[in-house]
Amino acid sequence: MTVLEAAHTSLGGFLAQVTPIQAPEIDYAAILPMLIVLGAACVGVLFEAFLPRYQRWSWQVALTLLTLVGAGLALVVYLRDNPQQGVVTLAGVLSVDRPALFLWGTLLVLAFGAVLLIADRSVEPGGAFVSHAAVRPGTIQDRAQAARLGMQTEVFPLTLFALGGMMVFCASNNLLTMFIALEVLSLPLYLMCGLARRRRLLSQEAAVKYFLLGAFASAFFLYGVALLYGYANSVRLRDIAEAAAGTNRSDTLLYAGLGLLVVGLLFKASVGPFHAWTPDVYQGAPTPVTAFMAACTKVAAFGGILRVLTGAFQATSWEWRGVLWGVAIVSMIIGAVLGLTQTDIKRMIAYSSVAHAGFLLVGSIALTGEGLSGTLFYLLAYGFTTVAAFGVVSLVRTADGEATHLSQWAGLAKRSPLVAGVFTFLLLALAGIPLTSGFIGKFVVFSAALKDGMAPLVVVALLASAVAAFFYLRVVVLMYFSEPSPEGPTVSVPGSFTMVAITLGTVITFVLGVWPAFVLDWAGAGGFAFSTT
């Protein structure tokens, strides 16, 4: 008070024009899941600092899984009595609306599956992660540590940080927050890619490539934000939408900004032609991390794309839609056609993810309620199938690690019919055969696009699906109708963690295929919220 009075007397009327800063109101219940995840990530860092090495794994696993369950519970409790139209909190920075809650739930369950794969230490003795990432590959120390059973347990807090970043990313209501969330989710992923126990060089190369290209894409994103700020004088989605609705500002700024912003987002979603990192990184990263990236990053990225396109650019959709049509077509063709000649199973799934990103983009640019709910459903379905598929990939091994070359999968059904059967089912889901979630996902997304007048795009999407079905079925044929080679891979008996992850993914893929109604209802429960009013 004395300060204020002194200011009054000294500066007089000047300060009368300045309103005092008010602390924003924070709806803690709404953002509790996010707070739990980020808080637990910090606790995980403390574990690394203070717990003895041999205790870290068990404490970290327990903490991470409990965090995910706790955040999930907080989400469910909040869902029961939150307003239908959603809330915008933290001074308008975050919107906790139905799509955000659905995406958060999806991220949490998918991360749960991925963490189970990360935590498994029985398939690969000691876990899929190296014990000292800093040792140079190929040296004597490196060969010595390959046999050592410990692992770099920082991977758990890193996972939680990335997950927290993703949750913020798909709920953020302004572009700067979105950018920070993008970095929070990306940086841990770059590190995690380099932590593979086997094939260290490939893994480190993947990490560096991902980092360099990710930095490049972030620059695009940030440049786009800057141009949009120049256009709308604000980074809030709502303000950009209002500015675009009726002004005589420079449209060059708007569309150049939009283009660069979208490029940054499409990069994260591994949509072609911004996909170039995907095969190399999917192949090099430890398989559990690949599962996490493939499932969760895609969810977060498409959550961001949906929110940005709906929130800021709905009014100008006639101008940009054609361009994104082209991008979707390019992505579907690249994914489907290049997948045909892949010889490595992880690269094949990587190209499959590029094709799927194209399908998801088809649903995302519909900008209708059905397009939104269809895309959300597709993300959930695709995520579970992918986590389970990478879980199976981690099981098929030779003495030097995973047997990812396709020729090594020949005749697998004769040796382990169950694993081959599960993988066949998952491949059929990726191809979109009925009785799997993949079919329902494609169906809802394509029918939404069709209703929004995008018939030619849907035709291309269906053709691309047909082409992509070839390389999924080729693996099935390989597993069932080829003679196994005598020095072929062995199939590890999965530990309980991997077992649970694969079972979870497979069962949900099936359940969503035969009884999708409840998830579709939930995905279509409400639209985005962009302002407090």
Partner: protein, 658 residues
């Protein structure tokens, strides 16, 4: 206006159709018993070999006894309340398509129940003896039980879908039984032929049901019949013709008659039960059951009559030329069913008469087939009547029962065929104008021809020179004709009694016509016939006598060559070639079908496969080329991203400012 009328009709119908209670509550047992028998025998496999045939007989006999109980339960009711329904379970509850598995217990269905289970039980018992040397006797009884169950579903179902279910069921049983000796190529081919030709008819029936569902939203008899008036006349005609197509397939009517004679490759009891007495009459049942639909479409009925008249003549003519005892009987079946179809085509003036002939025919034709089986049993499975002769002395019971059946079929006064066939001929002459002359004339001519070929059959088999004495059968054994065991003769005797008395029992006092009234409506006697009523029986008897005399002159008086003459007149040659029915089918359908298939295979191989393989090669090549862009160098990846970004931004700006 029409809606109101329809609603009233529904109300009236609803008042008529009561729910089945009391003893009728367990009517599903009729079907369940033989179905259970079939299931036990098929699933039990070889373990049931020892007692399988007994179980097979027992289930059908029990069904027959329960059917009799139901019959008397129904006769106790007031005639207006004799149509009852029993809901068993909800069968196909899909959105608008609601089909309940329900049974319709009315005079028509109960009549068929008694025929199917009664004749069925006799033939089961006969088969115990006939099939006693067959290793697969148990399987035979399993299939027979399956047939009885399916046939009962067909006649008892209360909707067209249930009927269709039974219809396909008897088709399967018939297929399995024709091919029972599938190691004989002829039997396997005959089964395939029967199955394929039946499919043609089944498609017609299925489309008729689709049409009913499309226009009325239901397939339940009560609702369909009550609302049949809502259908447009074109739809009505289409439905009647499609139902007729179904009936033609199942009942061996023109143009789908060619499978029935070949079906005689099956064991003789099968020919008697399925391909004479019961299954092949399903077409007559279908038309009679759908009488409210046919009543509304005189044009449809006319086609039915024409088909019937044509078929009865075709059957008679071919029957005159064959030397195979079972094939002659088979063509006689074709022709007799022609009479029934002709009768039901006459509408209210004929429905009940068709059913009456169906019942009497069931008795005498089953008896004739069992007699033929008994002859074959004693003659090393020989079927060529030119190699028989003078068998009366060696198998007297068979001969007497066979001759009773023969007298019944030619319409000897007082026997059952006389009452039922005469009534049809009279009704045919009862039509006005040219129809009376044409249909009546055809029926009359058919009666004369029937007398001719049946007399020929009897004379060549049981009388005259013993031509078999100097011959051996195909497997080199000499013939030692002997009477069959009593397990076979007793059913024949029972059927012979039916052949004698059934007609009089049904016809005198209009017993059957009155009993069927709740299902088929009152019989309309014709008033404006082209011939006086009294004249028709006289003409019939005269023509029958002429036919008998002609046969006597041709084969009774003079010796008959053992091998059949090759140089014969054109009509005989045509008749021996089934009036070229197979050739016509071959030329009109089989060969063009084969050509079409070959053309499609060509298009598939060259065109479709070429396109597919070409596309695959194109995509694979493209993939290989595009793969080279994935160099593994971050700098080229970054360049591709930059290129993409420039394109996206440029495209956005072009779209905006161009």
């Amino acid at each position: 206006m029409t809606n109101l009328a329809a609603a009233q009709a529904t109300l009236a119908e609803a008042a008529q159709v009561g729910a089945a209670g009391g003893v009728a509550r367990f009517a599903w047992l009729l079907i369940a018993l033989p179905a259970l028998g079939a299931a036990v025998l098929l699933i039990g496999g070889k373990r049931t070999n020892a007692w399988g045939h007994l179980l097979g007989c027992a289930t059908v006999v029990l069904s027959f006894l329960y059917g009799t109980l139901l019959f008397f339960d129904t006769t106790d009711l007031d005639p207006q309340r004799r149509v009852r329904e029993l809901d068993v379970f909800s069968w196909i509850p899909v959105n608008a398509l609601q089909v309940d598995f329900g049974l319709r217990l009315d005079p028509l269905s109960l009549t068929f129940v008694l025929l199917v289970t009664g004749v069925g039980a006799l033939i089961h018992i006969y088969s115990v003896g006939y099939m006693s040397h067959d290793a697969d006797r148990r399987k035979f009884f399993a299939y027979l039980n399956l047939f009885v169950a399916a046939m009962l579903v067909l006649v008892l179902g209360n909707s067209f879908v249930t009927l269709y279910f039974g219809w396909e069921g008897v088709g399967v049983a018939s297929y399995l039984l024709i091919a029972f000796w599938q190691h004989r190529p002829a039997a396997a081919t005959a089964a395939k032929k029967a199955f394929l030709m039946n499919r043609v008819g089944d498609v017609g029936l299925a489309i008729a049901i689709f049409l009913l569902f499309r226009d009325l939203g239901t397939t339940q008899y009560t609702e369909v019949f009550a609302r049949a008036g809502e259908l447009s006349s074109g739809t009505l005609l289409a439905i009647t013709l499609l139902l007729l197509l179904g009936a033609c397939g199942k009942s061996g009517q023109f143009p789908l008659q060619a499978w029935l004679p070949d079906a005689m490759e099956g064991p003789t009891p099968v020919s008697a039960l399925i391909h004479a007495a019961t299954m092949v009459t399903a077409g007559v049942y279908l038309v009679a059951r759908s009488n409210p639909i046919y009543d509304l479409s005189p044009d449809g009925r006319l086609v039915v009559t024409v088909i019937g008249a044509l078929t009865l003549l075709i059957g008679c003519v071919i029957g005159c030329a064959y030397d195979d005892i079972k094939k002659v009987l088979a063509y006689s079946t074709v022709s007799q069913i022609g009479y029934m179809i002709l009768a039901v085509g006459l509408g209210p003036a004929g429905y009940a008469l068709g059913i009456m002939h169906l019942l009497t025919h069931g008795f005498f034709k089953a008896g004739l087939f069992l007699g033929a089986g008994s002859v074959m049993h004693g003659m090393n499975d020989e079927t060529d009547i030119r190699r028989f002769g003078g068998l009366f002395r060696y198998m007297p019971v068979t001969a007497v029962t066979f001759i009773i059946g023969y007298l019944a079929i030619i319409g000897f006064p007082g026997l059952s065929g006389y009452f039922s066939k005469d009534a049809i001929i009279e009704a045919a002459f009862g039509q006005e104008g040219w129809r009376g002359w044409v249909f009546g004339g055809a029926a009359l001519l058919g009666a004369g021809l029937t007398a001719f070929y049946m007399t020929r059959l009897v004379l060549l088999t049981f009388f005259g020179e013993k031509r078999w004495e100097k011959l051996t059968s195909a497997d080199g054994r000499a013939y030692h004709p002997h009477e069959s065991p009593s397990v076979m003769t007793v059913p024949m005797i029972v059927l012979a009694i039916g052949s004698v008395g059934a007609g009089a029992f049904f016809a005198l006092g209009d017993n059957l016509v009155t009993w069927l009234e709740p299902s088929l409506g009152a019989l309309e006697a014709s008033e404006h016939g082209v011939l006086p009523h009294a004249l028709v029986p006289v003409l019939t008897i005269l023509l029958v006598a002429a036919g008998v005399a002609a046969a006597w002159l041709l084969v009774g008086r003079k010796p008959v060559p053992v091998t059949r003459p090759v140089r014969v007149a054109l009509p005989v040659r045509a008749a021996r070639a089934d009036l070229y029915a197979n050739a016509i089918n071959e030329a009109l359908f089989a060969r063009p079908g084969a050509w079409l298939a070959r053309a499609l295979v060509f298009v598939d191989n060259k065109g479709v496969d070429g396109l597919v393989n070409g596309t695959a090669a194109l995509l694979g090549g493209g993939s290989g080329r595009m793969r080279r862009l994935q160099t593994g160098f971050v700098r080229s990846y970054a360049l591709s991203m930059l290129g993409g970004s420039v394109l996206v931004v440029a495209a956005l700006l072009v779209v905006r400012f161009a």
